[in-house]
Symmetry: C2
Subunit: 396 residues, 2 copies
């Protein structure tokens, strides 16, 4: 049998990160490559309690078919929560529960992208989202990210040059991979540009609740009076990723198309998991839980910062960690970054080469991403020591 | 803001069944329209036990990120089970865990269908699958279903007439909506035709384990030496649909594309649910569980048959129930079926008009689907009495 695949997947490759994860799975390798939340951060005891209680009192609610839009009590709770805490959601928006935020990217792409359309993304940006956009045969246009977020004049240039831009994809808080947070001024500028050019924005915010220093900055969605922002929230980093529960607050016409696409994709999100999230927020102090996560991760972030300062030669820079789970280290231009990452693997340390996160993976790139949430403190120390030693060998 | 949607979803409507479910949600309405398994059939106690145990002993396994292909122990278990029980799976196949069988339809469509390709389906067929195929801009060609399955000479005609047929979609056991089972001879003929014309087959088998009379017939996939059959199995009817756990046994090259598409769609299926299925099969006697389901449903099927025989006038026929959850009733040609269904809703009984299941929903159609797994015995009795009374008013 000769298999003839669709044009959209013919050239689609498994993500480069997956290849790296193969090495990372070796127990002898110290992985700084994952994006997994720390198991310490999971409310395991609380989930076990809620699950036991619900499966005893009302098992059918966890086991029967449910509706595509999501578990009604959770939708209502999140609408209220997002409005009161973040000023997100208007009467022109609606809220859809999804199977992880990855599904939001797929449903939005499926609803919006025709072959040859353009998606503007930050460069670098989250590889999982970029691959989903690619799978709908769009062209990605990367716009460089600066220390305070996307380069606004480059964004305007991209909007004026490109036809058929469908949306701008941004991760404004503690961006993956860069760790960068977009300033308030830039958020307003991105919104105004999107409005002027009549394009949508996907605002992906998995890490917003994980700020360790400084003050929260309002979401772009909170300015959205025109119905141009599709906001993606997730419980993967704040409760547990295995649940696969996320949500989008989107303009009602976009929401409606996403619901129809989701119906054909998985009918509805696992209902036990939706109930777990709803009951967790109902029975426990969610703000206190977030505070606990910030304590766990800010300690890890501080330790990582300390290790990087101690071990990296001055020629290797890294982005200051204000929140989230990652930072990016940048090597001098004369160092071959892919070769550096390969040599690190030989020395049993695994990081993610920065070109994995570019709109064009073949572009020359000098940085790599490191994660501090998954490794133990001991692994972090040994990993950064090995990384620092290699860096000292290659810089001049 | 003017929203411009992709061509693929511009004309996509919410499924006609959803409209009907609005009426069915009215507690005064007796719904014969659902496809929900009976809550009596859920192993609620066992799931509660397993969940409590796993969330106590190894909560992180239920909460952390997992791999796209599926929970490794469940994949291994299902490979062995499908091979030993049904002769399904060769060294050229692989097995992917999905978020319901609906996702298999989406992943296969995304991997295979280019705009303008043709999908051959039984007419009538499951609306959820047809809508997913439509969402990838293919054209559906329906081939009539007879009392022993798809019309083989019409299928051959379709294959010889249509260019760019990507796959044949079939539900060989207790087909939704018709309840019809395909004979062994026809299964072999469908396989040979697909092989001759170089097209794939999607064999969707959610109801295969729910046979109440007669002997099991081998799956088309069990003849598959050439790697042309994508088999879809599901736990929605045999354990619980809220879990959203299904699996496909597919030729390895197709499996690989589906994995890449799934990675971009939901990363992986809810891991707690995968563990529930794996542990349920490990700790309990799964064959005895299936036997229990068949006892519950065959009793309901027998009661439904009794009620139809007692209440329907001879001019209204129905398909004999051998398994599954549905049957189809056919009105005489001179009765306006949509009008009949609307009048039933006025009398507080809800069924699904047969045209919802056609490749072309506007085709004239004289049948409707009724379900016997969801209503209580009392609801069934009252529902079929009302249906029978109306039928007697309209026949001549």
């Amino acid at each position: 049998m000769e298999y003839i695949f669709s044009d959209r997947v013919g050239n689609l490759k498994p993500s480069a990160i997956r290849e790296i994860f193969k090495y990372a799975a070796d127990p002898e390798v110290i992985s700084l490559s994952a994006g997994n939340p720390s198991p310490d951060a999971f409310p395991s005891k609380e989930i076990a309690e809620i699950s036991a209680d619900v499966l005893k009192k009302n098992p059918i609610s966890c086991l029967q078919y449910s509706i595509t839009e999501g578990y009604a009590p959770l939708r209502a709770r999140l609408k209220t929560y997002m409005k009161s805490k973040y000023g997100i959601g208007t009467e022109n928006d609606d809220l859809l529960i999804t199977s992880g935020a990855q599904q939001i990217m797929d449903l939005a792409s499926k609803s919006l992208i025709n072959e040859g359309d353009v998606v503007i993304c930050e460069a670098p940006s989250f590889i999982g989202s970029l691959n989903t956009f690619r799978s709908y045969n769009c062209r990605l246009r990367g716009v460089e990210i600066e220390s305070d977020g996307i380069n606004i004049s480059e964004l305007e240039k991209a909007l004026s040059e490109e036809k058929n831009v469908k949306f701008i994809y941004t991760i404004p808080n503690f961006q993956n991979p860069s760790g960068v947070t977009m300033s308030l001024e830039k958020r307003k500028a991105v919104y105004e540009l999107a409005k002027r050019y009549g394009v949508l924005i996907i605002e992906d915010n998995p890490y917003g609740d994980l700020r360790y220093v400084g003050d929260d900055i309002p979401a772009i969605k909170s300015f959205d009076t025109e119905g141009i922002v599709i906001y993606a929230g997730s419980f993967s980093k704040t409760i547990a990723p295995g649940l696969r529960v996320a949500f989008t607050v989107a303009p009602a016409p976009v929401f409606q198309k996403m619901v129809v696409c989701k119906q054909g994709q998985d009918v509805h999100t696992n209902i036990w998991a939706q109930i777990m999230v709803d009951e967790f927020m109902a029975r426990y102090d969610y703000e206190q839980h977030l505070e606990k996560l910030r304590r766990i991760y800010s300690k890890k972030a501080a330790y990582m910062t300390h290790l990087l300062d101690q071990n990296l030669p001055p020629q290797v820079s890294y982005n200051k960690i204000e929140g989230g789970l990652f930072t990016v280290c940048t090597l001098p231009d004369y160092v071959d970054m892919p070769q550096f990452c390969r040599e690190l693997i030989n020395r049993k340390v695994c990081v993610v080469p920065g070109n994995a996160f570019l709109a064009d993976e073949n572009e020359v790139c000098h940085n790599f991403r490191i994660n501090f949430s998954t490794p133990t403190d001991d692994q972090l120390r040994r990993g950064i020591e090995i990384l620092g030693a290699l860096a000292k060998e290659v810089v001049r």
